[in-house]
């Protein structure tokens, strides 16, 4: 088995593992991390793809794609984390209010 193949299969395994994590875990943070593991898997395959036979130079296109992908991943993760924080805050608030039993449905437009 060639090195490229080894890296690619590892990447594929990470992708599948991340997907399993996304489905299996209920905690929001874990789900976001699972998505990150999946994207890392794809990036690993891309990096492995850029290797060309021994003497030739490395193919720069997949590396450019990985760089773009990392930038995209950072921003989407940031947004997902922000939303997860908001959701968590709301559920904390709700739990506190449920303790006092005074929570009423509030109209705030639609």
């Amino acid at each position: 088995m060639s090195t490229t193949m080894l890296y690619s299969l590892t990447g594929l395994a990470l992708f599948v593992y991340g997907f399993y994590g996304l489905l299996a875990s209920s905690h929001l943070l874990r789900k976001i991390l699972a998505l990150n593991v999946m994207s890392t898997g794809v990036f690993l395959i891309l990096v492995a793809t850029s290797y060309r036979q021994a003497a030739a130079a490395v193919d720069p296109v997949p590396q450019a794609m990985v760089l773009t992908g990392i930038v995209v991943g950072v921003s989407t993760t940031a947004l997902a984390l922000t939303l997860a924080c908001k959701v968590q805050e709301n559920s904390n608030f709700k739990n506190r209010m449920a303790g006092k039993n005074t929570q009423s449905e509030r109209f705030s437009g639609g």
Partner: protein, 504 residues
């Protein structure tokens, strides 16, 4: 094969630039948004004219040529989707102004609404630029980037209302979108490993039925299906669309859903056609059937108006997928006409419905259908807009929805697959049932019942909805125009395909 046109970058660059500007300058935000909408409208008009005169055109960004360069490509379907976005988008921009002005004037929490308005304009313009970019991209990696841009902006817009329900829906929507994008990206990697190119036309010239490409198409399609919310992967759509603010719902249902569907159709029927099998298109048709029936039944059942409209979207997405088995893989029938017509009329009609529902919500304070009787007396224009849009969704003549269903039906009968025709009819009956539920409440004026309605009206809250609804209606009368446009694109394309060297 075609003339390079600098106008092609305007619909991408102008909304993005205006989006950034609105973020910096709060005061001129609406003026900037309106200018961007106007410029976009004009540039799309010019592009349509060029398409009529000289056929599809492309543009190499920065002058870099294939295989390294990134290409933008305008053909018939892309131009019509751009036109759809330009019209619906301009109306949504105006409506957004009316909507947020109303909320600022009659606040539940004052400072929040002003902030929401500002973020709405920024995010909406960024989303608009991303959608236009997606329609014009001719490069699978560039498409991935635009998909992510659309996902991020759409999820942020969904969360804009700040209510817990919409935040949970937005997070779920974002995760589903990211999962879809990653699946698409993995498919893209398979293609790059096999062929070493990213440009759609280059791939089209190389594609053969090898396992790697089949796997790639499967992965990309699953990703795009998740994003376009085909039954049974629709579960995230109704909460996200129903809990968002009304202008956002109009954007999500009218425009965002169409993007991944457009890509799916382009991939299956233009680029990867040798890999697509009859079984696969039949499967999509069956899932589409499930969507039509399930979405329709849920829409009939729901009490809340926005939930009803959201499930109606699920059902109408089913129609778009019904076009897959009917389009024919042999290229004998003009495959795009059904999908484009359905997309155009649904986009205008559904945006109009959400706008009308938003106006009703603002004035009445809720959207529970049984308690909406008599709204017509307070909001005549919005009620009329909803009714006309409803005509479109049901598919009565002379609306664009009627033409779309007519094309589906005639394709079903022509190919002898009459059972798809039955499903088209059944879906229409369901649509008639749920639309009637609403219209009956809107148009009836009960005796001695007073609705608590917040006055006064804002013209921007009602007229954009009516304009869109009428556009969708008139689309049926102007049917030859888009069809000719699609045809002119195809003719030039066919001429190119017959050339000795194939497509350049």
């Amino acid at each position: 094969m075609s003339t390079a046109s600098g106008w092609i970058i305007v619909p991408i660059v102008v909304p993005l630039a205006a989006g950034i500007f609105t973020f910096i300058s709060g005061r001129w935000a609406f003026a900037a948004a309106l200018t961007a909408a106007g410029v976009n409208f004009v540039s799309v008009g010019i592009l349509l004219r060029q398409l009529f005169l000289s056929g599809p055109c492309d543009y190499w960004i920065g002058g870099w040529q294939a295989p390294l360069g990134i290409r933008l490509w305008l053909d018939g379907p892309a131009a019509l989707m751009l036109a759809m976005t330009a019209i619906t988008g301009a109306c949504i921009t105006l409506y957004g102004r009316g909507y947020f002005s109303f909320r600022v004037a009659y606040p539940t929490r004052a400072s929040r609404h002003e902030r929401q308005q500002r973020y709405f304009e920024t995010l909406w313009l960024l989303l608009w630029g991303a959608i236009n970019g997606l329609f014009l991209s001719a490069d699978i990696f560039n498409i991935y980037v635009t998909l992510e841009l659309v996902a991020v902006a759409a999820a942020a817009l969904t969360a804009l209302s700040g209510r817990p329900a919409s935040q949970i829906a937005a997070l779920r929507y974002l995760m589903i979108s990211l999962l879809g994008s990653l699946s698409y990206l993995l498919g893209l990697v398979f293609i790059y490993r096999t062929y070493g190119v990213l440009d759609l036309q280059l791939i089209r010239g190389l594609v053969a039925g090898v396992p790697a490409v089949k796997a790639a198409l499967a992965l990309m399609s699953v990703g795009l299906l998740l994003k376009s919310a085909l039954f049974p992967m629709h579960f995230w759509l109704p909460p996200a669309h129903a809990n968002a603010l009304a202008p956002v719902s109009a954007i999500l249902s009218g425009l965002v859903v169409k993007t991944s569907l457009y890509l799916l159709f382009r991939f299956w029927f233009e680029i990867f056609t040798p890999v697509v099998s009859v079984k696969a298109v039949t499967l999509l048709g069956i899932l589409g059937t499930g969507a039509i029936i399930w979405g329709g039944l849920q829409a009939v059942r729901h009490i809340r108006l926005k939930m009803l409209i959201a499930y109606s979207t699920v059902s109408q997405i089913g129609y778009l997928f019904l076009a897959f088995p009917l389009a024919g893989l042999d290229g004998s029938t003009p495959v795009w006409s059904m999908v484009i017509f359905m997309a155009l009329s649904h986009s205008c009609a559904k945006a109009a419905m959400f706008m009308a529902a938003g106006a009703i919500f603002l004035h009445v304070g809720h959207d529970r259908i049984p308690e909406l009787a008599g709204v017509r007396t307070y909001l005549p224009v919005a009620s009329l807009a909803f009714a006309i849009a409803g005509v479109n969704i049901v598919g009565l003549p002379p609306s664009g929805g009627f033409i779309a269903k007519w094309l589906l039906l005639s394709a079903a009968l022509r190919s002898g697959a009459w059972w798809w025709g039955i499903i088209v009819m059944a879906g229409s009956f369901l649509a008639a049932a749920y639309i009637y539920r609403v219209i009956r409440q809107l148009l009836v004026i009960p005796e001695n019942q007073q609705l608590a309605v917040r006055q006064p009206h804002s013209a921007l809250l009602e007229w954009p909805a009516l304009f869109l609804a009428v556009t969708a209606l008139v689309l049926g009368l102007m049917a030859p125009l888009p069809l000719a446009l699609l045809d002119s694109g195809n003719r030039v394309l066919a001429a190119c395909a017959n050339m000795p060297g194939g497509l350049p």
